[in-house]
Symmetry: C2
Subunit: 404 residues, 2 copies
């Protein structure tokens, strides 16, 4: 079912990618460009190709047939390049300013050629440097509302939704999420990764049958609820920013799942940053950063909710979807799922395979341990309180209680 002709595919080099681009007419003179591979080489190559005369540049992203980051050699379908590219193109229909522009693609080579965003910085990195981005909540809230609504049954109706959903069946990458977010952190799995001094906290989590059962329910939702086209991995490392611009990148985990998963991922990563900042930030900047992060959590949901409701009331496929009662119902479900998935996403970043620099980079060992324990406890609270906490205010009030 892959669109990639494996016999054609080969990984590019900094040289061969230029020959390819010239053949496709995407660069005119091989001698007048520079090319640099800047990917981490775990999942993809990322070549930045710059025209020396015009100073214009583009990015060539090529999928590799394995995922070193997950296991020593976890084979991965190259079809994810198609999925990522199509997800970018879907998003460009609704929020073109919030995603990189796609200039060219080639499913045989698992390649997408797109806008170079080297003038942007990864949001996670920017936040860790203590920068505040005032437009993030408006941009990400809008990105979420437009994408999550416009791919739903309520926007597309019976036929178009199913056709689109079929394009985004994504077994390999969903498998990674299922294992690393919902399964492995809750048992003694080989993929787990946490420091020795966290063993006791982790063990008590593995013995928390009530939590494990709630996470099993959330996993079942993730597996079965094909509500809309998700980004699938919307953490702060998937967002490029400048002071004014926001670009959501890397939707290779895109699939039809529960809308709350994307929102939960984003809120979880802001939450992790908040917890980390209590240990990291200068005392005289900590209050400002903390307030900014809590405001961003609240506003991201507020912007999302307002716009999603507008879209549903204006564009709901059926008359009876265009009511506030139905909107309340849909948004309440999304909110509860957001909290539950945010909880799983918070916990996995401490115990599971892939960590976040926010926490791991805390230099003081005692502070780092404290942040790790707080993150796990916050994750637990998010999961347990998902039907109790009625708005982001409940979460931000909880987080305020963790402030230094």
């Amino acid at each position: 079912m892959t669109n990639v002709r494996e016999h054609v595919y080969e990984p590019f080099t900094e040289q061969s990618v230029l020959v390819y681009l010239e053949n496709k007419g995407l660069i005119t003179d091989i001698e007048q460009v520079t090319c640099k591979e800047v990917g981490d080489g775990n999942l993809n190559y990322v070549f930045i190709v710059k025209d020396l005369q015009t100073d214009k540049s583009l990015v060539v992203k090529q999928a590799l047939p394995y995922a070193k980051v997950v296991g020593e050699s976890w084979p991965l379908s190259l079809d994810r390049a198609r999925i990522e590219r199509q997800a970018l193109q879907e998003a460009a229909k609704y929020v073109p300013a919030l995603v990189p522009e796609v200039f060219h693609y080639d499913d045989d080579y698992a390649v997408t050629v797109m806008e170079d965003l080297s003038d942007h910085v990864i949001l996670r990195k920017g936040l860790l440097e203590g920068n505040l981005y005032p437009h993030i909540s408006a941009h990400i809230g809008t990105y979420l509302a437009e994408n999550l609504f416009n791919a739903s049954d309520e926007a597309l109706g019976p036929i178009e939704k199913k056709k689109l959903a079929r394009q985004f069946v994504n077994p390999d990458l969903c498998d990674i999420t299922e294992k690393l977010v919902f399964t492995d952190p809750y048992q003694n799995a080989e993929s787990n990764s946490y420091p020795e001094n966290l063993q006791e906290t982790v063990k008590s989590l593995w013995e928390d049958d009530r939590l494990i059962f709630e996470v099993a329910k959330l996993k079942k939702q993730f597996l079965t609820e094909g509500e809309t086209l998700l980004h699938g991995d919307l953490h702060t490392g998937s967002v490029f920013v400048t002071e004014k611009s926001t670009k959501v990148i890397d939707p290779e985990f895109a699939f039809y799942g529960p809308a709350g998963f994307d929102i939960g991922a984003f809120i979880a990563n802001l939450t992790l940053n908040y917890i980390a900042q209590q240990e990291r930030a200068d005392e005289n900047k900590r209050t400002e950063i903390s307030e900014y992060l809590l405001e961003t959590i609240e506003q991201t949901w507020a912007v999302f909710e307002k716009r999603y409701r507008e879209l549903l009331l204006e564009k709901g496929f059926e008359e009876r979807q265009r009511t506030n009662q139905y909107a309340d119902y849909v948004l309440e479900k999304i909110w509860q799922d957001t909290l539950g998935f945010a909880g799983c996403k918070t916990i996995r970043r401490i115990i599971g395979l892939a960590h976040v620099e926010d926490i791991d980079g805390i230099e003081d060992e005692a502070g780092r341990l404290q942040a790790q324990q707080r993150a796990i406890e916050t994750g637990r609270s998010l999961v347990f309180n998902r039907t109790v906490w009625r708005s982001p205010k409940s979460l931000t009030a909880y987080l305020k209680g963790l402030a230094k």
Copy 2:
């Protein structure tokens, strides 16, 4: 995305189908067979081909590119022939005795050649003739448990489930169900069909905002919850029976949806028959038939639940799915969905496009009206009480209250 090469396809005639079968080596001598088209011509051709010398026979079912039954000319993808055939083949892996055997298929011609079941009778017809089939609940309960479990995430794990689900994306036929079961009966739609003297009852249903909202929720579940591979149209007209044998036919509506939908469809049709029998059955047989039907409703669920739990505990893909706590959770959800969908299925058969002979065939006009009103009211109770009624006993107690 269809597998049918439209330029090859043409509808067979009683003559051309024999030439086709001879070419494929499925019959040896055209002169020694009889062929009769017995389909209703609304959706499909059904040819029964009988060898005069051996008296062996087979059925050739061919999809037609429209659905006369739905609208004057509602075009329908021929791909449904592939879906039906593959659904039969999936079921044959687990319950070969409960489905017709597939001998040959040809997606270009939208054709499936299968076991002839002319010695069986359609369950709806058998029940209307006053026959009791003692094995129905065991057979259908098993059919439901095996099929609904074995295509689920819990049985197949992350990769195989998604590959199978992709095969069964079925926009055209889901569209029919969505309109005729969840939408049109709840508004003044052209497709509706009900007698003049029911207008008042129907009007009060259209004004029942609480019911309409609950049905909107059930529709959202039908649209988004891809739990397992459903038959998709499991009414008593999709079941062939003899005293000892049960064969589930016609899974062309198959798709990944909520497990309770199939069980609800079957229970709704037994419920409709029960309501009808209060008006139809001879007084001295009515008690026996009524008790049989209530027992069949209870036992179908009991057999399903027992076997589904066994399968989950034995074969659950993950350790934490193989617990009674998780099984309770999954089965409680399926039960609630069963009631809700049974409610929608009951109402649609009175107000919507496609009726059932059980009710429509009641000769006495007052009796027929009474049955129609009771069916609508029962449907409403099923929807409203889906989280209240804890077992089939609640439903059968309700139905006993309707007995003459």
